[in-house]
């Protein structure tokens, strides 16, 4: 298990989550329900 960082590309909401290797999970934003979720292995730079 590793912590990954996620950013909703629609509303900009960011969160971190434990990710299992080889997992098959459909993610959506808890704020706006968008499926446009960008995944980062390292904490991304804060959005301007």
């Amino acid at each position: 298990m590793a912590v990954n960082y996620f950013r909703c590309m629609m509303c900009g909401y960011e969160w971190e989550e434990e990710v299992e290797k080889g997992e098959d999970v459909e993610r959506s934003c808890s704020q706006c329900r968008s499926s446009s979720i960008r995944q980062f292995k390292r904490k991304p730079e804060p959005k301007e």
Partner: protein
């Protein structure tokens, strides 16, 4: 299992029976002397069986089988009593599993179901209270061939219960435990049980606690009314928990009757949990073996819910029964008949017609990298190291993910070709591209979701321009970049939800590709938010309209300067420049080598 439609090779493990099928005459002498007693799975553990046994009454063939896990015959303490008494000499301890290989043209998957284990719903006390049983255990208790010969008794004192409660939807319609779906059969099963009880024991009082009674099949409503007329009380409301009277072992249920709005207290002799059904445990293994996809509920996904309800996405594979979705006996029989007919039609035709939308390899361009073979969800691409890839058209479903993934343009689709899609992109963006929301939609879900939005007369901005592809995985990086290069303000890639992907799991490639594109756009100084990814199902017209509104709002934030900058930033590097750079790099490497040699010579 290997091969493809009309040409499968299957290996079947025939488990060892340890009893000669021909010699055994089912006299039962072996079971009489067998000292090993284990819980009988068929009777839900309510009675015991021996290590040598007939799995269930009316088993075909009616021949004993030796449960080697529990048999003492092969242990250090050798028993061998069954072999001693068998006059037919039918016992063979040296029997072994046999692998049978068969060539088959089609396969029907009918692996059935598992029943929900209510242990995790501790509020109903299934493991704490003896008189709380499941509907499956009820079935055995009331059956003439059951452990009590059909005499219905409660486990705590073996007395006949007079007040019986049935709790519906245990393990069904409960998202909290990950089982949001309706199990389809439980309502009618409970209604049938109440009628059975009323028939056998007219003095028994039945109470059914339910949230909805789903009596929708032929004569089902009639059965429901008969149950009510027979005296069964239906209380709309599910109890929060069950308490037990430690002395009498009676069960007390407090429930809010949502019809009357009153709190009711029921003291019952026995409670039956109407357990739901779940996908069978080995579904995962079968799914991998046959490259089948699953729905979000965990059951197998059919090729099309309305038009191909018995076909698997993999050609030549058909479904029958519960493994596809919860259904009753009648529906299972119908589906089995339909699957058999489909197989008959397939095999009698003598040849297989495949959809024209398949991929093919352009051998001159293939670099033998094998990327296409590794991502094909249908394993339709044969590739070995040092060899060109080869598409087996009979297996190819035409998702196009291989075509989008090949960096060398060595895989082309028949229909929805790269040239056709690129031409569409350029045509759409030839006039006022900055005013358009550019959408790639998969054929099965998102495009149909757009249709649904239209049919439902939902209002959403008219700025969107949709290009249909068979799967979202068909959309290559180059197509998205081409849209931006042609002035698109925003681009949406949309496809089926994970569990609904019509090409098993091809849309996972879409996710990977879009992630890569976001990184690429970021590096090029282009706002990555201008590329969006959405999963929209065919039923989600509302979502389609909502996403289009959001995309239009996003489009309005993109300036003409930004679009112009994007055109420049994403401009493909001229080949000459690339070549020159490569040459320069080569020259650089040569210089470095010379330098290294010189250094070595100096130090030497």
């Amino acid at each position: 299992m290997t091969g493809y439609v009309g040409n499968f090779q299957v290996s079947i493990r025939k488990k060892a029976r340890y009893v000669d099928l021909e010699a055994c005459n089912a006299c039962g002498e072996c079971a009489k002397v067998c000292p090993q007693v284990v819980p009988d799975e068929y009777q839900m553990g309510l009675s015991a069986r021996k290590a040598i046994y007939i799995p269930f009454p009316q088993a075909v063939p009616c021949v004993y089988v030796l449960d080697m896990e529990n048999c003492l015959g092969n242990n250090p303490i050798a028993c061998g009593k069954c072999a001693d008494v068998c006059e037919q000499n039918a016992i063979n301890y040296d029997d072994a599993d046999e692998i049978i290989t068969r060539d088959v043209g089609a396969v029907i998957v009918a692996i059935g179901l598992d029943v929900y284990d209510p242990t995790e719903m501790d509020e109903y006390g299934y493991t704490r209270f003896e008189n709380v049983i499941t509907s499956m255990e009820f079935e055995r208790l009331i059956c003439a061939g059951g452990p009590t010969d059909g005499h219905f008794v409660r486990p705590s004192d073996m007395e006949r219960p007079l007040r019986i409660g049935f709790i519906q939807c245990v393990g069904s319609r409960n998202p909290a435990i990950g089982r949001p779906y309706c199990s389809n059969i439980c309502c009618m099963n409970t209604i049938k049980d109440t009628l059975l009880l009323a028939d056998h024991y007219p003095d028994v009082q039945n109470v059914v606690f339910y949230q909805d009674i789903r009596a929708f099949g032929k004569s089902f409503e009639d059965m429901f009314q008969r149950s009510k007329e027979a005296g069964t009380r239906y209380v709309r409301g599910l109890p929060g928990d069950i308490e037990e009277d430690p002395e009498t072992k009676n069960l007390v249920i407090t429930v809010e009757n949502t019809t009357s709005g009153k709190l009711e207290r029921h003291e019952l002799d026995m409670v039956v949990l109407s357990v739901g059904v779940i996908p069978p445990a080995d579904l995962e293994k079968i799914s991998g073996l046959f490259t089948l996809s699953k729905t979000s509920d965990g059951f197998f996904m059919e090729s099309h819910p309305k038009l191909k309800p018995v076909d698997a996405p993999t050609k030549g594979i058909y479904f029958a029964g519960f493994c596809e979705s919860p259904k009753d006996i009648k529906d299972s029989v119908c589906q089995a008949g339909a699957a058999a007919s489909k197989v008959g039609a397939l095999l009698n035709a003598g040849e297989v017609h495949v959809e024209a939308i398949t991929s093919h390899v352009i051998e001159e361009l293939c670099t033998e990298c094998g990327v296409c073979a590794s991502i094909c969800p249908f394993s339709a691409i044969r590739w070995e190291k040092g060899q060109k890839a080869h598409v087996i058209e009979a297996m190819c479903a035409g998702c196009g993910s291989c075509g989008a993934a090949c960096a060398f343009g060595a895989i082309e689709m028949k229909h929805f070709t790269d040239d056709q899609l690129m031409a569409q992109i350029r045509a759409i963006l030839s006039d006022k591209p900055e005013e358009k929301v550019f959408v790639f939609a998969c054929n099965w879900c998102s495009y149909a979701g757009g249709d649904m939005a239209g049919i439902s007369r939902l209002v959403y901005p008219t700025s969107n321009r949709v290009i249909r592809t068979m799967c979202s995985a068909r959309v290559s990086e180059e197509m998205v970049l081409e849209a931006f290069r042609n002035g698109a303000a925003v681009v949406l890639v949309s496809g089926c939800h994970y569990a609904d992907c019509h090409y098993i799991n091809a849309n996972r490639q879409t996710v990977k590709r879009v992630q890569k594109l976001w990184n690429k756009l970021d590096k090029a100084g282009v706002r990555p938010e201008r590329l969006q990814l959405e999963w929209i199902s065919a039923a989600e017209g509302q979502k389609f309209a909502k996403v289009m509104k959001q995309m239009e709002e996003l489009r309005a934030t993109v300036t003409l300067e930004e679009i112009e900058h994007t055109r420049e930033a994403l401009k493909p590097k001229p080949k000459k420049e690339k070549k020159a750079r490569a040459e320069k790099a080569d020259a650089g490497a040569g210089e470095a080598e010379a330098e290294a040699a010189e250094t070595e010579a100096v130090s030497g």
